[in-house]
Amino acid sequence: MKLASLILIALVAFASPAAIAATARGPICDTRARVGSTTYYSCSGSYHGALDMSNGTCNSWNHRGMLVGSRYYRYYGGCGQSCSATSCNGGAGNYVVVSGSNGWQFRQLHIGANGSSGSKTCDRCALGLVSSTGQSYGAHVHADNRRYGTRMTAWYTSVGTTCGRSAYCGNVVGNPTL
């Protein structure tokens, strides 16, 4: 029994990968970019559980990958250009998903498709334009960190991100789990 136990303990190194903490920066390289909604819509409405970030423009600024370090951004497209709300992709519009271990995901929604849009591996590269595809009232970047589909909030509350905080690409807005 002891021999077998020791063998299996030696195999602990091959356990399922543990979730890791990532660093997310703002998605817009404009110092005017700000967080508009966090845990509640417009910071006072119904539950949102995500960050909405905008610089008040539509289809003119890059929507960048927010995670520091190379990540695989899987792209879900098919929505045409829009600066007003549509139901495309269930309201998500064009979006990307970064998958982590054990059901963790990081998503960025409402991308305006352009030549940069598509599934790819990169470090804070352009994913498209800051736009309003999907159920989006005013062009913005929606970012959420989910586990098995449930939106978590600690990834941005833990670093003090709240309404009005800078969403500039040099500013850390959260530490999502992946």
């Binding site: 029994m1 063998i7 890059n62 190379s70 695989y72 470090d123 690409c169």
Partner: protein, 350 residues
Amino acid sequence: MLRPALLATLLLAAAPARGDVAADLPPDVADLPPDVADLDDRAAAPALCALPAMLDAARAGLADGSDAYRRYLAALLQEAALTLPEADLLDAVASERDPALLEVLGRALATRASHAEDPGLLQPLLDRAALDGDPALRAAAVRALRATGSVEAMAALGGGVDYALLVQDPVPEVRAAVADNLIAENRDVYGGRDARLTAAAVEVATAATDGQVAARVLAEIPLDTATPDAVAAVTAALAADDPARRAGAALALGSAPPGDGATARALVARYHRDDDATVRAAILRALARLGQASAIPTLRALRGVAPALDPELDLWLDVLGLELQEWHLILREKLRRAARAAQHDTPDTP
């Protein structure tokens, strides 16, 4: 302690500057009217800074700074690399002779390449990894590629240098760095699931003459997304001479697509034939992972084949009987019980 003047130099280099913007724009944004295109990313334009001064500071800090300071210097150079003059960075990577600094510089170049989506920038680093005469520098160049999307970048460059080539390096440090890179890239870049990474891992394990490296790669990179050919290659490794390689192959097959049951049958056949306890333990775990609760009859049928492993087999049967729904929960419970059993087996007196 960092000198104020040096700190100012480093911070200046790392700070986004204003100026030329077109190079950072995707083609269709660059094609927008000037009043629109000029708005985009103006703050992320190249900085005017001197790389040699940064390298002098980094060289000194990497040599005698604390771990935290070394990490800080590496992170600072990585961020500065996004805006440093490209030619200076390429020259520095091509000529650096200090392994610690080459690793940091190479990581900075890889960050630049990933940010700019230009794998061609990695060529000097790949050349160092494959061709440098100093094994410490080759290993440093390989480590610099860790978790940077390097498998995709190597494929995009045409496969002149890839991990299947690098894993045949005569020096163990380089080979170990290859395994570390693949494992880290699979976990950090792809969240543990990517068909291209899996294919590269199987190719590396097949090409590796180092059984320990092959075993690590096989054991730690799941085959969920593997093609039938890749699964067949790993199944063939169950017959390898090296027990470590056989155990690694068995663990890997536990994460293979269940398919028509051929993988489970190959594992059962190997369990009957193998005489190595580690390999047999790995096979039990693979069968448990493949079938979870439905593997109970298969595991029961193996009782008595290797009596020394029967207590281990019974532990798996007990845990699978709980019908936990996810592999990581099953494994955690199994390891908890194994640790408790080992504790109870330890005699109180010599």
